[in-house]
Symmetry: D3
């Protein structure tokens, strides 16, 4: 694979097409306007500043445009950026924005068939029906949304990919520990982050909705499950329903992480730990993939700003 | 008023009718059975042990019976208890269990008319209808349940009394601060603990239900509000609905106290602080009422085991 | 009311008289001097930078001058500032600095008569005399000082206004809870922050004095109360005096907030909670007043950097 | 399987052979001696008290004896115990102490062949040789020791069983995440708790040695690895050696849990999370296995005293 | 030296005169009265219970009496106690209570002359005069009071002994670090705990006074220093006075330990650390003195319940 | 002594020879290169920026060069720096880099003879031999290395100077407290930070080695002690060896500060407190030495960013 934006090292020359993901007009210390840019390609993102911007520059270098970028990759205040030498707007219609954003490592059809295989193994009828009901309702978004705004799996299809990674690990857990209820764990995993399709505004822009901010994805999906139960005529007091809701409500593991209850069911604790496992291995691996041997990664925000060494 | 169970000091003689709230058969260190009793009257509760219990004693001194109790109030391992001299079962039918439990300081009719006056001031139509809908559904329990299992307002009607105390303080707050939305604050206060009627098993026994333990009263009432909105055909995405849900979800003030979101609306913060204010003044006052001048109260569990001095 | 400095939104033109509250000469990255300015009017403050300052600019745009300011309100690194287009020194003598700083919402005479009404209700003679003695001594400063250097009620008369707000809430509390000793609570509230008149340097500049930094307002007012007792021939061992001192020493509520003792008297706990209530509602309301509907306030420093949504 | 000591419910009659694991002579409140006993069989342990012990009882009911026990399973101060009706010393020589203690669910030969298969997959020569060197030295203890004094896998062979459980999960992790170095993770897992064979006194009694208390198993195994390197003529400054030592030193995950460094290598973080996963699922499962449906487990000490619900 | 109460090991016979420090009448589980006793001699204290107490026993074995005690030293629920075989009241008038309590290792005259030598080295006139003024006022108590109610130096003269130990260490510090102001450090040390003579009720009984509980020794001595300054006509705003007050107010080192300000002067930080050093070495040494080689001490309450090993 | 780099106040003219300790080429906001410099002389370090650097400037002003510097000392974003007017490379060969870095206040020969005197007092033969063995091995580095990368004693010889300061205080401690084992405390102090000669890369550049980062100086010196014992044929299970290792392993005092065990021996606790004492007094004194009377020091990073007042 050719080098992309997250592959360059300090001092490398950049000379490729990129998508302008964000373009913000600001005032420099000398009073002149400049454009603060975020560039994107399939490998990820990097920032750059276009100094002394003329009105025509501001008109050309807008969010959503694809440009040919020449410049130098450098470090400014501990963070990587592109020192821009030249930018040219590309008008070639075969260049599409969707080809300049990172994607899940597997195509949607593969994710779908993997998911179906797991749903098939949910042998408890009520849980199976609730899962199907909600995926029926929110399935399109489930395969399009990222798993988080920035920290991990922050790409198109990230939510589905994260969910299926967890299901794989869950499969090994069930093989190892006879006490785990496989149906409950699978149903819980599939639903645990589905509320993010309500919490976040969309797969592209990915900001928080008002309900996302004031209610949060954990309670939003709980409300959806309750509504599904009403539609399916399942009693909310049925123990099967109470423990499914619990497994999802408790998946952040601690009150201070935003779960209104801590895990009080084995499967809730396992779900929580698998979620942490997949998120942290993914974040560390992603950082290591952009670090040369014998160096430390950049600080990883969602892991207490820790750095990891690449042997 | 005559002295009751919580009024006695160390060394006082006890000679009155009491309700047996709880009676647990255990084995003493010498191998003989004894009955661990909880006595109750309108002033509150106290424990006692009936040693060397014969089968007929075990048959007589059961939970729910009213007995005439003679004994001595003493301190055992820092806690007050009754050293029992004599217990006689009372068969007089005019003695009713409900007269031997603490009650809200105001009769239900007063609480109801006070509450109605506040509901009348909720001028936002949707909030007003949601409040009426849910009180219609759960009103009987609202006026019967305690506000908590043990810590504060742990008596019949305690939930309603706590709610109305908060409404009184809220009224003063609204007079003082023009920025507070009175309708939102009142609606939030009335609904904030209504989930306890689902979380707790009842007004008398008061244990946690399975849903109380695994879902919790905050999410339970949120689900009820969402369902009410569906019934009333209110859009769940309507900002009015989102902020009402938020005000209630956030009322514990911090994630580590079990709210899935922290207060992000002025009224949510105010509701939280009024809840703490009423709970703590009530707990301290209750403890002071059973403490003589010049002494410290017993440690108050829900206030970090603190003690307060009575001048 | 006309728009003032804290009312502008991003992109608004500014064209009005302002007071230069602070003017600091610094060196720009290009080596040239600039003036870092703080502008003030009755609505509050905002910063701005005067680039490439000539010696005559430095001579003209000094702290304390009133100038006519033209410019643009913008956001620089998440904080609002004025991009200055033009500044002209105003020499009109009718323009007075004191008209360009925020003020308490009530005139001093109103504050005074309100305060007197509350003092009148302190029926315990010793507490009443101590309050009068200390207000006699420090009364001028009490009505002039802010309640804090920056966080809340940071304006002329803020200390008195904050005190009286708390007294209003205290009145409602005393009506609601029979256990509260009204005289003790009122006396405690009036004295609780009076030490700030020793801790802070004055109403205008408002920096910390050496004693403010090394002893702190809580111990400074305690020393003043002790001295007052000596003058008034009150025994320091008298329980009435000990509990009054306690109520004030404990008003920060927790050791880690700087109180040398935690509240061990009901009124001390209530005073602490009322202090928090008035401070937080005031800070949130102030932030909301400068935020348009549908947006979040700026982060509020003294409330854990939290943001609040304005519906 | 027949019922054993940990299978009884409250009120069940006990009538079986047991091992006296511990027998402590104490004085009752009435001044008479009694024997505080710990009974054991293959299902686990339970306590009991033999009251009013005569000298011949004290002589008979000693640690290590097998006795026939008749009694009642009851709860005393929230903990289960046996109320003893009768105890008879068993002199039948076919009864052996080793048949009255819990064992790993797999026989030693199975554990050994599983372990060998994993060692075979450590393809980095130095790590492979260090692992073989240390297992050669401490292998007997490795298959005999428990994984911990009390919390989890606290039975003969527990250390090996815990290690192999983690290796199984590690296998699934390596399949899922290409970035993980399988050799490093396997070598780290096999060695991570081997220091417990120095820290603990033995498989039966299991108390802490002086070095266990004052140095701890993490540093003890690090010293053993360093010594192995010296014997095998591996340079301690070789990066391969440094990162292997790191992976083991960091496996408690946080400084406050006793690791002198936090994980700074991907495999160190994964090892830590797998350790937590296996320990917590094992502890919860063990507690659930002794809890009837519809009830909560006893509090689990090493999981913050949490309780889990068994659906 | 002969063995005393704190020298006995488990199983040792006790046969010596002791002082009854405390005698509390309680009811045993079998309903009969017993006396809970605290015995004392010059080595320290130990508890014991006198079962089945007759009225004449209760009359004889009172607080303050000297008795001849025969019994056995044993461990009950992890704590040492005396199992009493026989107690006889001693009427010999040469036996005095004051000879049955622990004492400072140095006689008062030595402590006084040591203290005077240090005061002589306080060369700053104001600090010297304040120290003399307050020692003049409270000197008798200074040489009689303990340094704390229970934790360390809890014996007659303990306050003076603790103070002088710190002065010795301070002397070495001043020799080592030229930046330390010796006069300020010595004056601060001498005054730092003098407030305990107001906080505690006396040298014998040692409970907290009301002012001790509600104001605390740190603020109590600050008030005394302020009063001394008024008497000596020293200006409270004089920097010399402000920093002396600061050094004492800050000596607990952190807000959460009860200092209203943290150390902001070098000498304040040093005083705090010397205080911790002397307290902890004294507590550990005291515990080690009552522990045989090869064992751990009892848990030390004021050091986070830690235990120390005696090689 | 003449003024040096750390002696200047704001606005002072600088005109002296300095060493360029570090020179980093960066890009200014206007796109032009500048050199970010760190200057050093015997008093310490300060930063400066050389704007609009030409290629010949970059070639001249390199790390390791001695230059004559003219400029102005000013504050930029709360930190002191030099605004450079002119820099001239000095080619005079009598100017040596080693004369432009801070040094220990005592020459190496003095430090050596002081150290020998203390070693002589280690009367326990094994500890004495281990100390000699390791100083023999690492002695050159011991007298050359700093005690830390930046916080305290960060100069050539700092490690030895810090160690000997602690030994002086330890001497006073042993005089004061009979329970302290002088040999153990001295041996522990001498070895406690010797691992820094492995953890850090050298006396001049002072970065962390890989083993420093992934293993840490505490475990590195423990491994060296273990190896020394093997060489000297001392049994690692000998209690004398275990407690020496413990005293060093525990010297950070708390797990969260990186010690794998907390102090469980009196001397371990004392060593920890002496380490903190010497480090904090040195940091505060160093900051005070560069602060004028009546001002606060800069924030001290390793003391929770606290500031200290200089009377």
């Amino acid at each position: 694979m050719e080098k992309g934006l997250r592959d360059y090292q300090d001092g490398d020359r950049v000379d490729q097409n990129v998508l302008i993901k964000d373009a913000d007009i600001r005032t420099a210390k000398n009073g002149k306007p400049f454009i603060a840019l975020v560039f994107s390609d399939v490998t990820g993102q990097i920032t750059g500043k276009f100094w002394a911007a003329q009105p025509e520059d501001i008109a050309n270098f807008k969010k959503g445009r694809i440009v040919h970028l020449k410049g130098l990759r450098e470090i400014y205040q501990t963070k990587p950026q592109i020192r821009i030498d030249k930018m040219t707007v590309m008008t070639n219609e075969t260049l599409k924005a969707e080809d300049f954003v990172p994607k899940a490592p597997l195509p949607k059809t593969d994710l779908q068939s993997e998911l179906n295989a797991f749903i098939f193994k949910i042998t408890e009828a009520k849980w199976n029906r609730i899962v199907r009901y909600l995926l029926n309702e929110r399935g399109d978004d489930f395969f399009k949304y990222p798993a988080a705004k920035t920290n991990h799996h922050a790409y198109e299809g990230g939510l589905a990919f994260h969910t299926i990674s967890m299901l794989h690990l869950a499969e090994a857990m069930c093989r190892q520990y006879a006490t785990i209820n496989q149906s409950l764990l699978y149903a819980g995993i599939i639903l645990h982050d589905l509320g993010k399709t309500i919490e976040l505004s969309g797969a592209e822009t990915t900001s928080y909705t008002l309900a996302g901010n004031l209610v949060g994805h954990i309670v939003l999906i709980d409300e959806a499950i309750s509504r599904a139960c009403n539609e399916l005529h399942f009693d909310l007091d049925d123990e099967k329903i109470v423990i499914l809701r619990h497994v999802i409500l408790a998946h952040h593991g601690k009150l201070e992480y935003g779960s209104p209850v801590i895990p009080k069911i084995l499967e809730a604790e396992v779900l929580h730990q698998l979620d942490e496992m997949d998120a942290s291995v993914t974040m560390i691996s992603d950082a290591l993939n952009h670090t040369p041997s014998g160096h430390y990664t950049q600080r990883i925000f969602a892991m207490d700003q820790r750095q990891f060494y690449k042997p």
